[in-house]
Symmetry: C2
Subunit: 527 residues, 2 copies
């Protein structure tokens, strides 16, 4: 039970609490204890209590969201917003500012419309990848909706955080089309064509008349998105879930350079992902455990990585990819893939073919599922492989050009910085058409303070060193949003100042998600 | 020669003029007479002088642009910005506010970089489609850059106005990646990854860290774009420039519905365009003239349209499209196209195949050229067909869902509204993946005041009637920006109010392009 004292200590007054209860009902205003089991950052040292919240509120309607924002402005309490709160490895659902009221959008979980002809859904932010998938299946829709590796997150929230999936709409931010947003003062605005009442193209055409401001609400504290159009792909006639295995560590740049023309020309339509044997081992039944692979101190040595790859019949690098189309189109695409990677000695292309309609029944492995938009939680096993059950990770996720020598430059840099830390080096790469997102996963167990501390000490050094070489974060954990933003230094940090001007104009009270991505309201900024 | 009196009459003081000359040199500050030959709106009644400018300035550097904006703020004179000034049918290079100083970016015309591996160029806004094409050819780059039907416009300016081209990057706004922008107060900001000095992914990754504000600068008066990344496609191994002809007027919805799955699944990667026989006739050597087709009063009757189509061996509707890939991929795509349109009785699929590298030498017709990104001015002939040499047009360009019955609904509506006006009904459609841009071209000769007046009277009625049915403009002529914006009425015109808040925050002096897309600075707004 919440006590007045408890709320006072974290910044929510009794009057504010009473107003929230009057607005939402007592059942939709949780105190910290009730919130804590579901919300927080599971992937940090559990003993660090720096990210406490004062309450969690659970709006159900747009009017609820408007009311919460207006109360925050009136009483001056800060809000932090999560859709499902599964932004794990980047802070989960913990806020930046201790004492914030957490706005969880889990109850706003309706799939409002599915437009089968245009392969679009309109959804609320509490809809999970699982929910949308099941909704499509139950409705008999022959549509595939892109999903990330873990399916429990919010379709909209993930896209707003620039998350990635693995169908043709794997760039999730780019597949949002048409938003409804509640601004910090409680005003509702729709983006694009939806700003015209009754417009038929709201979720179909990515722009309206005049400036396009959809992008303002991603990685942002400028508004709360309450509805979004989400593009999907029609179920293809034919689907090939494939892998390319290359034998040597030094084959990585050649693999990237071989695949780039396939992505640029649209032979491959989805984002392929390149994985490390240790990461993949967690998904292979009967694979040796981390301690069987290497029981000594420090990271897994390269010889053990190679032995593991050999034992599991993996490449030193393994890339998954997918091909979609009619059967002749898929066959022609596959021939182009084989021709492109033939330049790499020992490269192997394998895969499984499906008729599109049979994938739900027949796709068994996670790669075949996720590239067809079938969500799962299988990847949790990879986390446990490194640190045992309940393992956690912090992701250092950096954007490079899609070019072998840029990726090598980054990896060599990180390798050097990590030497002596004892941490395993495991970088997965997700390939866009012109860029790669390099996700270096730093593993630890949340109960192991020493390792967590080492990771937390290392991370900002990685951020600064990567920036000095021309590489930036694409996303960051709460604790490193400021250092991430600071690296954007062109024209004396003009981008941050621009964001601050927008923040001051749209949220003069500074109540919505202060510090999100390094953007602080005026009252919090150094003078 | 400019006189002090002339400047005073249109709002530019002698002091302001002197400061502009001091900043840019006398040769870069043109008076109205010198400007008039190159700048203005060629497609309105020439006797209406409501869009006069006070001067044209020609910056060459980012510092020049900063200086112009600062002088405008200090002296309080309004600016209107054009890249090449070829936004014809939407106002050309005339300003909304009489007496504005026209900023022409024609001298900022450098191709700064071509990244062949990633198929990206970084260009200044004065670079024309012709310039970029020639630069790529001269440099031996095997890259195709999307171009619209007329190649004399600015690559960047066209994209910022949401223009359309016909390669896989035909959605020009979506192919801009990474902007440098001068804000109204003279501050320079880069978007996305470019906001980090030396970042290697500026023009490769479409977002940075935090909110994405690139979209704010399209159809906008919030900044002047001085550099942009422009995505291109690698020269394909094989290229098929095709057409689909359907025989009957009422085949249009079936054609749209047959093609939609091909676009959604990526069988077709570029935006196809559907044309009317009369429009295409202007491009066919030896075709009968408008007066030969119909010499009576009023629009061309349907029987004459059908006769023209028959005589030229066109469909009643003719769709051009392109296929790219390896030879087997193109063959498989073509088989899918043929299968899809086989449902339409009498539909014919034809086309020409090219090896990608030979297209520059062998592509002769405008369709084969423009779908390979080869710019031309051939389409000017279509204008002259209707109204004789020097003919003009006003484009009523509306977004519908990509669905036959929506397009039929719009066309029936417009048909009804145009009955009795005597104007020809000629609607071209450009097909996106989920929407169609319906460009109804209203033809006139700029010396024919009666017809121009009729068109100008009709246009706002079309805007309002279309909006009542759920269809909005994607772009508008200067004279109809306010009525276009007014139709965005959801939440009591929240979108316009949002745009006004941004305008007030970023341009408190209200000097940059007042009224652009209906967004006026505070001083100009009704109380």
């Amino acid at each position: 039970m919440t006590t007045t004292q408890g709320r006072a200590a974290t910044g929510l007054s009794s009057a504010a609490h009473a107003d929230l209860v009057a607005l939402l009902g007592a059942a939709a205003v949780l105190d910290e204890d009730a919130s804590g089991r579901e919300y927080g950052d599971p992937f940090t040292f559990a003993g660090w209590h720096s990210r406490r919240i004062s309450a969690t509120v659970l709006p159900e309607t747009v009017a609820d969201v408007q009311g919460i924002l207006r109360l925050a402005g009136r009483h001056g309490f800060p809000l932090w917003v999560v859709s499902q709160g599964r932004n794990n490895a980047y802070g989960g659902s913990a806020p930046r500012l201790p004492g914030s009221v957490l706005v969880s959008l889990r109850r706003m979980n309706r799939v409002l419309e599915v437009d089968e002809e245009h392969a679009v859904a309109r959804v609320e932010p509490g809809v999970r990848f699982f929910d949308l998938y099941e909704h499509l299946r139950a409705g008999g829709h022959r549509l595939w909706s892109s999903a990330p590796d873990l399916g429990w997150g919010s379709v909209v929230g993930n896209a707003l955080e620039h998350g990635v999936g693995y169908t043709v709409h794997g760039d999730h931010a780019a597949r949002l089309c048409g938003l409804e947003v509640v601004l910090p003062d409680g005003e509702v605005v729709r983006t694009g064509m939806g700003a015209m009442e009754g417009n038929r193209a709201w979720n179909l055409h990515p722009r309206g008349f005049g400036p396009t401001f959809d992008g303002l609400f991603g990685q942002s504290n400028l508004g709360i998105v309450t509805k979004a159009g989400v593009w999907m792909m029609p179920e293809p006639e034919h689907y090939f879930s494939g892998s390319i295995r290359v034998p040597r560590r030094e084959d990585l740049p050649a693999l990237v350079d071989a695949v780039r023309p396939l992505l640029l020309s649209g032979v491959m339509q989805n984002p392929p992902a390149i994985g490390h044997p240790a990461f993949i081992a967690g998904l292979v039944p009967g694979a040796p455990s981390r301690s069987e692979v290497h029981s000594g101190p420090g990271p897994i040595p390269e010889t053990a990585v190679e032995a593991l790859a050999g034992r599991l019949d993996l490449g030193r690098w393994t890339m998954r990819f997918a091909l979609y189309g009619t059967e002749p189109i898929v066959a022609a695409r596959l021939a182009a893939v084989r021709a492109a990677v033939a330049v790499i000695d020992g490269a192997r292309v394998d895969g499984t073919s499906f008729a599109g309609h049979e994938v739900h029944d027949l796709a068994r492995d996670q790669n075949a599922q996720v590239q067809a938009g079938i969500p799962s939680l299988d990847l949790m096993k990879a986390l446990d492989w490194y640190s045992g059950p309940g393992g956690g990770h912090l992701d250092f996720s950096v954007v490079t050009p899609l070019r072998g020598n840029d990726i090598t430059r980054l990896h060599d840099l990180l390798d050097g910085l990590m030497a002596g830390t004892g941490l395993d080096f495991d970088c997965a790469m997700i390939l866009g058409r012109r860029y790669a997102i390099n996700v270096m996963q730093l593993y630890f167990h949340p109960e192991d303070e020493a390792t967590v501390s080492r990771v937390w000490e290392l991370y900002p050094r990685l951020v600064r060193a990567a920036a000095a070489e021309g590489f930036a974060l694409y996303r960051a954990h709460l604790d490193f949003m400021d250092v991430g933003a600071e690296q954007f230094d062109a024209h004396d940090h003009a981008q941050l100042r621009f964001n601050e001007r927008l923040k001051d104009a749209l949220d003069p009270a500074g109540v919505l998600a202060p510090g999100k991505q390094g953007v602080w309201p005026a009252a919090h900024r150094a003078g």
